[in-house]
Protein backbone atom coordinates (compact mmCIF):
# COMPACT_ATOMS: atom_id res chain seq x y z
CA UNK A 1 0.00 0.00 0.00
CA UNK A 2 0.95 3.62 -0.35
CA UNK A 3 0.71 4.56 3.31
CA UNK A 4 1.47 3.27 6.78
CA UNK A 5 -0.94 0.50 7.64
CA UNK A 6 -1.97 -0.42 11.18
CA UNK A 7 -4.07 -3.25 12.53
CA UNK A 8 -6.40 -3.76 14.21
CA UNK A 9 -8.07 -0.39 13.81
CA UNK A 10 -10.09 -1.06 16.95
CA UNK A 11 -9.46 -3.44 19.82
CA UNK A 12 -11.57 -3.95 22.91
CA UNK A 13 -10.05 -6.18 25.55
CA UNK A 14 -10.49 -7.11 29.17
CA UNK A 15 -8.14 -5.93 31.85
CA UNK A 16 -5.29 -8.38 32.30
CA UNK A 17 -5.27 -9.69 28.74
CA UNK A 18 -2.35 -9.26 26.33
CA UNK A 19 -2.72 -7.36 23.05
CA UNK A 20 -0.62 -7.06 19.92
CA UNK A 21 -0.74 -4.08 17.60
CA UNK A 22 0.80 -4.26 14.17
CA UNK A 23 2.36 -1.63 11.94
CA UNK A 24 3.35 -1.99 8.31
CA UNK A 25 5.45 1.04 7.32
CA UNK A 26 5.93 2.60 3.93
CA UNK A 27 8.23 0.45 1.84
CA UNK A 28 11.83 1.68 2.03
CA UNK A 29 11.36 3.68 5.21
CA UNK A 30 14.09 2.72 7.63
CA UNK A 31 12.82 4.61 10.67
CA UNK A 32 9.69 3.55 12.52
CA UNK A 33 8.05 5.18 15.54
CA UNK A 34 5.29 4.30 17.97
CA UNK A 35 3.32 7.03 19.70
CA UNK A 36 0.34 6.97 22.04
CA UNK A 37 -2.42 9.53 21.67
CA UNK A 38 -4.61 10.13 24.69
CA UNK A 39 -7.22 12.81 25.33
CA UNK A 40 -5.58 15.78 26.94
CA UNK A 41 -2.14 14.17 26.81
CA UNK A 42 -1.20 14.87 23.26
CA UNK A 43 1.17 12.51 21.50
CA UNK A 44 3.43 10.52 23.77
CA UNK A 45 6.57 8.98 22.25
CA UNK A 46 6.96 5.26 22.99
CA UNK A 47 9.79 3.78 20.92
CA UNK A 48 11.88 4.39 17.81
CA UNK A 49 13.39 1.83 15.44
CA UNK A 50 16.17 2.36 12.93
CA UNK A 51 16.13 -0.76 10.85
CA UNK A 52 15.52 -3.64 13.26
CA UNK A 53 17.22 -2.08 16.25
CA UNK A 54 15.60 0.20 18.80
CA UNK A 55 18.10 2.86 19.84
CA UNK A 56 15.47 4.65 21.90
CA UNK A 57 12.98 2.80 24.07
CA UNK A 58 12.79 5.60 26.59
CA UNK A 59 9.10 6.21 26.15
CA UNK A 60 7.81 2.75 26.98
CA UNK A 61 5.64 3.35 30.09
CA UNK A 62 6.43 0.08 31.86
CA UNK A 63 7.91 -3.37 31.35
CA UNK A 64 4.46 -4.55 30.24
CA UNK A 65 5.16 -2.77 26.95
CA UNK A 66 7.51 -4.20 24.35
CA UNK A 67 8.03 -3.82 20.63
CA UNK A 68 9.94 -5.52 17.91
CA UNK A 69 10.63 -5.00 14.25
CA UNK A 70 11.61 -7.71 11.84
CA UNK A 71 13.13 -7.57 8.38
CA UNK A 72 13.41 -3.81 8.67
CA UNK A 73 9.71 -3.64 7.96
CA UNK A 74 6.72 -4.76 10.06
CA UNK A 75 6.66 -3.84 13.73
CA UNK A 76 4.57 -5.24 16.56
CA UNK A 77 3.79 -3.42 19.81
CA UNK A 78 2.81 -5.81 22.58
CA UNK A 79 1.08 -4.81 25.80
CA UNK A 80 0.95 -7.51 28.45
CA UNK A 81 -1.57 -7.66 31.28
CA UNK A 82 -3.43 -4.61 29.98
CA UNK A 83 -4.70 -2.00 32.40
CA UNK A 84 -7.48 0.54 31.93
CA UNK A 85 -4.94 3.35 31.72
CA UNK A 86 -3.55 1.71 28.58
CA UNK A 87 -6.70 2.75 26.71
CA UNK A 88 -5.60 5.14 23.96
CA UNK A 89 -4.97 5.39 20.24
CA UNK A 90 -1.62 3.89 19.32
CA UNK A 91 -0.07 5.56 16.30
CA UNK A 92 2.71 4.23 14.15
CA UNK A 93 4.78 6.43 11.87
CA UNK A 94 7.61 5.82 9.47
CA UNK A 95 10.25 8.00 7.93
CA UNK A 96 12.71 7.58 5.10
CA UNK A 97 15.76 8.28 7.17
CA UNK A 98 14.79 9.30 10.66
CA UNK A 99 16.82 12.03 12.23
CA UNK A 100 16.88 15.66 11.29
CA UNK A 101 14.43 16.86 8.70
CA UNK A 102 12.67 13.58 8.18
CA UNK A 103 8.93 13.98 7.78
CA UNK A 104 6.94 11.36 9.65
CA UNK A 105 4.12 9.57 7.84
CA UNK A 106 1.47 8.33 10.22
CA UNK A 107 -0.92 5.43 10.11
CA UNK A 108 -4.58 5.73 11.06
CA UNK A 109 -3.92 4.29 14.47
CA UNK A 110 -5.16 1.39 16.57
CA UNK A 111 -7.76 2.39 19.14
CA UNK A 112 -7.37 0.25 22.26
CA UNK A 113 -10.09 0.09 24.88
CA UNK A 114 -9.41 -1.85 28.06
CA UNK A 115 -12.54 -2.70 30.02
Amino acid sequence: GAGVSQSPSNKVTEKGKDVELRCDPISGHTALYWYRQSLGQGLEFLIYFQGNSAPDKSGLPSDRFSAERTGGSVSTLTIQRTQQEDSAVYLCASSYSGGLGGELFFGEGSRLTVL
Partner: protein
Protein backbone atom coordinates in the same frame (compact mmCIF):
# COMPACT_ATOMS: atom_id res chain seq x y z
CA UNK B 1 10.99 17.79 30.81
CA UNK B 2 8.26 19.37 28.72
CA UNK B 3 9.94 20.37 25.49
CA UNK B 4 6.94 21.69 23.55
CA UNK B 5 4.13 23.68 25.12
CA UNK B 6 0.86 24.56 23.46
CA UNK B 7 -1.01 26.62 26.04
CA UNK B 8 -4.39 26.58 24.30
CA UNK B 9 -6.33 23.31 24.23
CA UNK B 10 -9.25 24.84 22.33
CA UNK B 11 -9.45 27.78 19.96
CA UNK B 12 -12.63 29.00 18.33
CA UNK B 13 -12.67 31.68 15.65
CA UNK B 14 -15.10 32.97 13.07
CA UNK B 15 -14.55 32.39 9.37
CA UNK B 16 -12.48 35.18 7.90
CA UNK B 17 -10.92 36.13 11.23
CA UNK B 18 -7.19 35.74 11.92
CA UNK B 19 -6.07 32.71 13.88
CA UNK B 20 -2.88 32.21 15.85
CA UNK B 21 -1.87 28.99 17.58
CA UNK B 22 0.83 29.39 20.19
CA UNK B 23 3.79 27.08 20.58
CA UNK B 24 6.77 27.47 22.88
CA UNK B 25 9.71 25.12 23.07
CA UNK B 26 12.60 24.26 25.33
CA UNK B 27 15.78 23.13 23.60
CA UNK B 28 19.43 23.98 24.16
CA UNK B 29 20.63 23.44 20.60
CA UNK B 30 19.48 24.74 17.25
CA UNK B 31 15.81 23.75 17.11
CA UNK B 32 14.04 22.15 14.19
CA UNK B 33 10.30 22.66 14.50
CA UNK B 34 7.19 21.45 12.73
CA UNK B 35 3.44 21.87 12.73
CA UNK B 36 1.36 18.74 12.17
CA UNK B 37 -2.40 18.73 11.57
CA UNK B 38 -5.11 16.11 12.00
CA UNK B 39 -8.40 16.77 10.23
CA UNK B 40 -11.51 14.90 11.31
CA UNK B 41 -11.25 11.20 10.43
CA UNK B 42 -7.91 11.69 8.71
CA UNK B 43 -4.34 10.78 9.57
CA UNK B 44 -1.96 13.08 11.31
CA UNK B 45 0.08 14.82 8.61
CA UNK B 46 2.79 17.40 8.24
CA UNK B 47 1.56 20.95 7.70
CA UNK B 48 4.82 22.86 7.60
CA UNK B 49 8.39 22.89 8.86
CA UNK B 50 10.31 25.97 9.88
CA UNK B 51 13.37 25.28 7.73
CA UNK B 52 11.26 25.49 4.59
CA UNK B 53 9.99 28.96 5.46
CA UNK B 54 6.94 28.25 3.33
CA UNK B 55 3.26 29.07 3.49
CA UNK B 56 0.97 26.06 3.34
CA UNK B 57 -2.81 26.47 3.01
CA UNK B 58 -2.29 30.10 4.00
CA UNK B 59 -0.52 29.20 7.25
CA UNK B 60 2.89 30.52 8.21
CA UNK B 61 5.05 30.00 11.28
CA UNK B 62 8.11 31.97 12.27
CA UNK B 63 10.76 30.70 14.60
CA UNK B 64 11.59 33.26 17.29
CA UNK B 65 14.66 32.04 19.13
CA UNK B 66 14.61 34.95 21.58
CA UNK B 67 11.11 34.03 22.73
CA UNK B 68 11.59 30.30 22.02
CA UNK B 69 8.34 30.34 20.09
CA UNK B 70 7.01 28.93 16.83
CA UNK B 71 3.49 30.26 16.59
CA UNK B 72 1.26 29.25 13.68
CA UNK B 73 -0.72 32.00 11.98
CA UNK B 74 -3.30 32.46 9.27
CA UNK B 75 -4.77 35.86 8.44
CA UNK B 76 -8.20 34.63 7.32
CA UNK B 77 -9.43 31.34 8.78
CA UNK B 78 -11.61 29.03 6.69
CA UNK B 79 -14.07 26.39 7.87
CA UNK B 80 -11.83 23.66 6.43
CA UNK B 81 -9.09 24.74 8.85
CA UNK B 82 -11.06 23.15 11.70
CA UNK B 83 -8.73 20.44 12.99
CA UNK B 84 -6.31 19.44 15.74
CA UNK B 85 -2.90 21.08 15.41
CA UNK B 86 0.30 19.82 17.00
CA UNK B 87 3.58 21.65 17.32
CA UNK B 88 6.61 19.34 17.30
CA UNK B 89 10.36 19.54 17.92
CA UNK B 90 13.03 17.17 16.67
CA UNK B 91 15.56 16.05 19.25
CA UNK B 92 17.52 12.85 19.64
CA UNK B 93 16.14 11.56 16.33
CA UNK B 94 12.53 11.70 17.42
CA UNK B 95 9.70 14.19 17.35
CA UNK B 96 8.35 15.50 20.65
CA UNK B 97 4.83 16.84 20.29
CA UNK B 98 2.88 19.38 22.25
CA UNK B 99 -0.50 18.53 23.73
CA UNK B 100 -2.28 19.91 20.68
CA UNK B 101 -4.79 22.67 20.00
CA UNK B 102 -8.26 21.96 18.64
CA UNK B 103 -9.31 24.71 16.28
CA UNK B 104 -12.96 25.28 15.39
CA UNK B 105 -13.77 27.78 12.66
CA UNK B 106 -17.38 28.93 12.80
CA UNK B 107 -19.31 30.21 9.83
Amino acid sequence: AQRVTQPEKLLSVFKGAPVELKCNYSYSGSPELFWYVQYSRQRLQLLLRHISRESIKGFTADLNKGETSFHLKKPFAQEEDSAMYYCALIHDYKLSFGAGTTVTVRA
